[in-house]
């Protein structure tokens, strides 16, 4: 009996493996899927790469370059989300620009050094991006001009594992996006 069960269970696994090797056959529901995919994501259109099909509103542009505005990176202390030192001035310069250019938009990208737990670092990067966002809101920037994201430890600017690389990686990058269309 025990042997018989083993055969059955292997057959189940083998069946699964056999199915896995077959080409993917579109099921009935997938036509609806295809219809929805245009608005949804690049997966269907892009084939192998889940990339950039529908970036649209997230496309980056050069943005302003004068004075402090050329500086797009705010650095942080270890395990801290507090904007300090030169970061305060950089944030203020961009806040002033955004407040006086209400169609300009930015994405604030929080990052951490690449030590520790990846999802905790996503949380820490998000807190950093949020600190910058809050400071900008207090200085007159409108909420719909700002998008926040955290990449945690996934996108280090310096992949070395040294204290100076870690310091460079603990940052928020300000990325200017295509401006909003003026309201009709």
């Amino acid at each position: 009996m025990r042997r018989f069960l083993a055969v059955i269970s292997l057959a189940a696994v083998l069946g699964l493996a056999a199915c896995a090797s077959k080409p993917v056959k579109p099921a009935a529901s997938q036509s609806a899927v295809g219809a929805g995919s245009g608005a949804e994501s690049s997966g269907a259109a892009g084939g192998a790469n889940a990339n950039e099909g529908a970036l649209g509103s997230q496309q980056s542009v050069a943005g302003p370059e004068q004075g402090l505005l050329a500086d797009r990176t705010i650095h942080f202390s270890f395990d801290s989300a507090q904007v300090e030192g030169r970061g305060v001035q950089i944030v203020a310069a961009h806040a002033k620009y955004l407040a006086s250019h209400p169609t300009a938009r930015v994405r604030l990208e929080g990052n951490t050094d690449d030590r520790g737990s990846p999802e905790y670092n996503i949380g820490l990067g998000m807190r950093r991006a949020e600190s910058v966002r809050q400071a900008m809101l207090l200085q007159g920037v409108s909420a719909n001009q700002i998008t926040v994201v955290s990449y945690g430890m996934e996108r280090p600017v310096d992949p070395a594992n040294t204290p100076s690389a870690w310091a460079k990686n603990r940052r928020v990058d300000i990325v200017y996006l295509t401006p909003m269309q003026p309201a009709q």
Partner: protein, 439 residues
């Protein structure tokens, strides 16, 4: 569960995207044993009689599994006094002379319908008795699985622990640098073979998680520059974007019943908070409320509470909260000033985590009934522990300070045995061990 989840998603068909992933996995994984027990069990895995067309050295796979566990030492084939394939052919006195406590004999035979049968017999060399014998049948493409099943049975018969060789892992491979960098979500057998590409992206992919039936993966993808949580059927590639809210969408993990997903959302408040998303109804329930980082949820095996990381006390520590509204929150870890990434063993006895100890990040476990805390690895940059379905070992990401690319590694919960799965190129990270295959 599969059917109901599929039906639930059918109601949201407009959300689905069929992902025709045609790329290939670039990095092959090679096993290196890093530690084993002081007195491994000596065993002889005799080459099986196989038709030339079989294409898989079944006894070689079994031997690789058993020695890779760190608990067995295998007799070299050149030292074997014969190649019996049935117990009746074994000359036991000659085999006693090799010092082997156990031996495995077997054969692969065509069944005539295109399928193959694998028969093996584990013998006690001292008594000449059969310990366990089984037959598995299937197509030639599944011979490796049959070999892993044999390893599972042999491992269980000798150690008393159910083997987890016939299981799968999911992980993220990172290939190339700069503009050419690619992230790949990959599913492979636990020994690194049979790799399948699930998703490829220029942008980070993180935190894969298996559904309890092994048919779905949840993960985080930044393919639109922002984070979103997806649930994807492994076999067909059909996927659903279940959360793409403002701010963070992260750390998805299926409930033990498979119907709910715990995840982290930062929303407009800006504080990452734990939520539970009912995949059938799309109903979202907020679990944490503290203005702090609350993330990395993992379910207790009974589905009634969630372990998570929070820095509410200043440093990241692990807490537990009931899923029912108004449930109290209890702090779980007190050792060291950094404990994060909790993962509960399937048997509910252990909590694995990343701890900062002696300046390095290491994998530790805490006994959930006694509170006993044990650091298992030496760091310096270990993370993302995930238990094998038999609760006996943990797979995790490992990097050295010298800037080596990441590898996957395993460690047994007694700390005695481990191995690395090293990529042929690039880095591999974020491993998660799948469930046992269906019985």
């Amino acid at each position: 569960m599969k059917k109901t989840l599929k039906q639930a998603f059918a109601r949201y068909a407009a959300l689905a995207v069929l992902l025709a992933v045609s790329g290939r996995v670039h990095a092959q994984l090679t096993i290196q044993i890093t530690s084993g027990v002081t007195h491994p069990v000596p065993i002889a895995v005799v080459p099986f009689a196989e038709p030339a067309s079989a294409g898989t050295d079944v006894s070689g796979v079994i031997q690789h599994d058993l020695t890779g566990s760190g608990r067995f030492s295998a007799l070299a084939r050149a030292q074997m006094p014969g190649t019996p394939t049935h117990a009746a052919e074994v000359q036991f006195p000659a085999w006693k002379g090799t010092g082997s406590d156990y031996m495995v004999v077997g054969r692969v035979t065509p069944l005539g319908n295109g399928e193959l049968a694998v028969d093996f017999n584990l013998l006690n060399v001292l008594t000449g008795q059969s310990v366990v014998r089984k037959r598995f049948t299937g197509p030639p493409s599944a011979l490796r699985n049959a070999a892993h099943r044999a390893s599972d049975a042999i491992y269980q018969a000798i150690t008393g622990i159910r083997g987890a060789f016939d299981t799968r892992i999911a992980y993220v491979a990172v290939i190339g640098k700069g503009a050419a960098q690619r992230f790949q979500l990959v599913v492979a057998d636990a020994d690194g073979y049979n790799q399948h590409l699930i998703l490829e992206s220029r942008f980070p992919i993180m935190s894969p998680a298996w559904s309890p039936d092994g048919k779905w993966l949840a993960y985080v993808s930044f393919e639109s520059h922002l984070s979103a949580v997806y649930v994807q059927r492994v076999r067909t590639g059909q996927r659903y974007r279940v959360s793409a809210r403002a701010g963070e969408n992260g750390a998805p993990v299926f409930s033990p019943g498979g119907r709910r997903l715990a995840l982290t959302l930062s929303g407009v408040s800006g504080y990452p908070q734990i939520y539970v998303l009912d995949l059938h109804t799309q109903h979202l329930t907020r679990i944490t409320h503290t203005p702090a980082i609350n993330t990395e949820p993992d379910w207790a095996p009974d589905g009634k509470s969630i372990y998570f990381t929070s820095d509410r006390a200043g440093q990241p520590q692990i807490y537990r909260v009931g899923v029912e509204p108004g449930s109290p929150t209890q702090r779980i870890t007190f050792t060291d000033d950094y404990n994060a990434g909790p993962h509960v063993s399937p048997d509910g006895k252990w909590l694995a985590m990343v701890t900062r100890a002696d300046g390095g990040y290491r994998i530790a476990i805490q006994n959930l009934s006694t509170g006993q805390f044990k650091v298992l690895t030496s760091g310096p940059l270990d993370s993302t522990p995930s238990f094998a379905p038999n609760s006996a070992a943990i797979i995790y990401s490992r990097r050295s300070v010298q800037g080596d690319p990441g590898t996957l590694a395993t460690i047994s919960i007694d700390g005695l045995t481990g191995l690395t799965l090293k990529p042929s190129q690039g880095a591999v990270q974020d491993p998660v061990w799948g469930p046992f295959p269906p019985k």
